[in-house]
Amino acid sequence: MNGRAVRLGLGLVTLALMLIALYMVFVYVPTEADQGIVQRIFYFHVPCALVAFASFALVAIAGVFYLWLGQQVWDDLGYAAAETGMVFCTLVLVTGSIWAKPIWGAWWTWDSRLTTTLILWLLYGGYLMLRAMAGDSEQGARFGAVVGIVAAIDVPIVIVSVRLWRTIHPAVLVTRQGGHGLEDPRMVATLLVSLAAFTALFIWILCLRFVTLRMRTRLGALARSLALAEAAAQDS
């Protein structure tokens, strides 16, 4: 089975899981008593956050391997993960803001969870800007790997921020003293299915982006050897 068929299969699995998740979010799961219908944003907001965290962890892992082994494939993986993570992190901030307006009465508040997430977004935004400015240089890849590793320190801080500081952000996976996020088992099931759908979506998008970056690397190598061959042909 070739790579194209694997990516197509993964895309179809993602589509099926996403349709099931949508059915569960809008039909199956009961409406939350306090927040009402707007609480349903949470079933896609939380998976987006978890997938973004996984992306940034992958950037750090790929960065370590790139600095250690110096192989281009690790740089391409890190770059693809950073870009994919940024997309999901942007969705986390936007959907969180849309949820906050009717619940808190404000689009944004400088809450610890929100602030640390914004810092995470800015850090990886900086990583992508650095990569865009550095082009395909080896130095840019090395600096990017270091930034990717350092920026990943913020991921555990975002996760435990609801424990470390006073916050109004709801705790779902990390519970505060006596706090509990999901009471109904249908809510838990919906969150898990959404998480599976977003994990599949993340892997699919990451594969697509990674393949594109590998193609770009191959094109660069081919352009260099073509230039050499053309110069040799002109000399002879």
């Binding site: 949820w99 009717p102 998008i205 594109t212 050897s225 061959a229």
Partner: protein
Amino acid sequence: MDNLSYLFVAYTVIFAVIFGYVLFIWRRQVALEAELRAMEARMRALDEAAGAGKAAESRAGS
């Protein structure tokens, strides 16, 4: 805006951003594939020209 509108906007944003990003990757991939094919064709043409040149040289030598 009522709560249903917030829910609608949130899910619309999610799918619009994901669709936009996948479209961006797909277009980039198509462009790179075309570029790669063109470059491979140029490489093959160069190899063939070099091969023909060598054959002509060996004929002239003999």
